[in-house]
């Protein structure tokens, strides 16, 4: 596994994008950084600019207005990067999938590496998902 990808697995800096979500998943992601779960002790940080990020956390159904913006963000994030779909909406658009404003689910727009189901996934589930992701990257040769 090359150096760049291996570097990804240590102290991941995440950039969070909410593309048409109810904000529940977003709050649970922010909860991971609060004292009870405190992922900052693993070096995981929430960054303000996509150009500093290693991982892209996406929540929400990706509605029509957000789709081009999400693609733009993905173009800006330095590669290699990982895309994490958090929450049922990012996985399959949940109960909004037959709505008029939900063109395509996330994995038809971006290549997704990890799916974290739940509505919303508990912070423990999000951390578990990140751990599985790290192991997956490390095991890839």
């Amino acid at each position: 596994m090359d150096l760049k990808t291996r570097a990804l697995t240590k102290s991941i800096w995440v950039f969070h994008v909410s593309a048409g979500s109810c904000n529940n998943c977003d709050i649970e992601i922010l909860d991971c950084f609060t004292p009870r779960f405190d992922v900052e002790r693993f070096g995981i940080q929430l960054v303000g600019s996509v150009r500093h990020a290693d991982a892209l956390l996406v929540t929400g159904i990706v509605n029509r207005k957000c789709t081009p913006r999400l693609k733009k963000i993905y173009e800006q994030i330095p590669k290699p990067c990982v895309v994490v779909a958090v929450g049922q909406c990012a996985l399959s658009q949940h109960m909004f999938r037959f709505g008029y404003n939900a063109p395509a689910p996330l994995d038809k727009i971006l290549p997704v590496d990890v799916y974290i189901p739940g509505c919303p996934p508990k912070p423990e589930a999000i951390i578990d998902g990140i751990v599985k992701l790290v192991n997956k990257i490390r095991n890839k040769k």
Partner: protein, 145 residues
Amino acid sequence: MDNMRDKIKEALGNRILEWQENSPKRVYFTLDKKDIFETVKVLFKELGLRFATASGVELPEGFEILYHFSFDKAGEFYSVRVLIKDKKHPQIDSITPIFPGAEWIEREIWEMLGINFIGHPNLKRLLLAEDWPEGDYPLRNKREP
């Protein structure tokens, strides 16, 4: 306790076409759409009711808009019903010139149902994407998917 029902009936007189009391706190009354501006002025400015929202729906007989006003002191709701019979070019006077709180609400109805609000200062897209096709109104009954 003020009797708001009597005050409304007195102020609007024979503009009221129909009066319906679904429950002690819910009053629905129907007006002709040409009277809406004056009526809202009376309800908001003179009687001091609070505007909660307006909802539109497409029925076989036309577009029905309900303006919901709240009388907070008694916890009652007075909903003004107007029917726009012209389905090809539906339009009605805007109430935004009376108070700015109505601006977004009328924009949303315009965007979802295609009803033109005459006199609205800023009738443009609020919720839908920029590339949403013109003339496609999501809350109308017959739409191409």
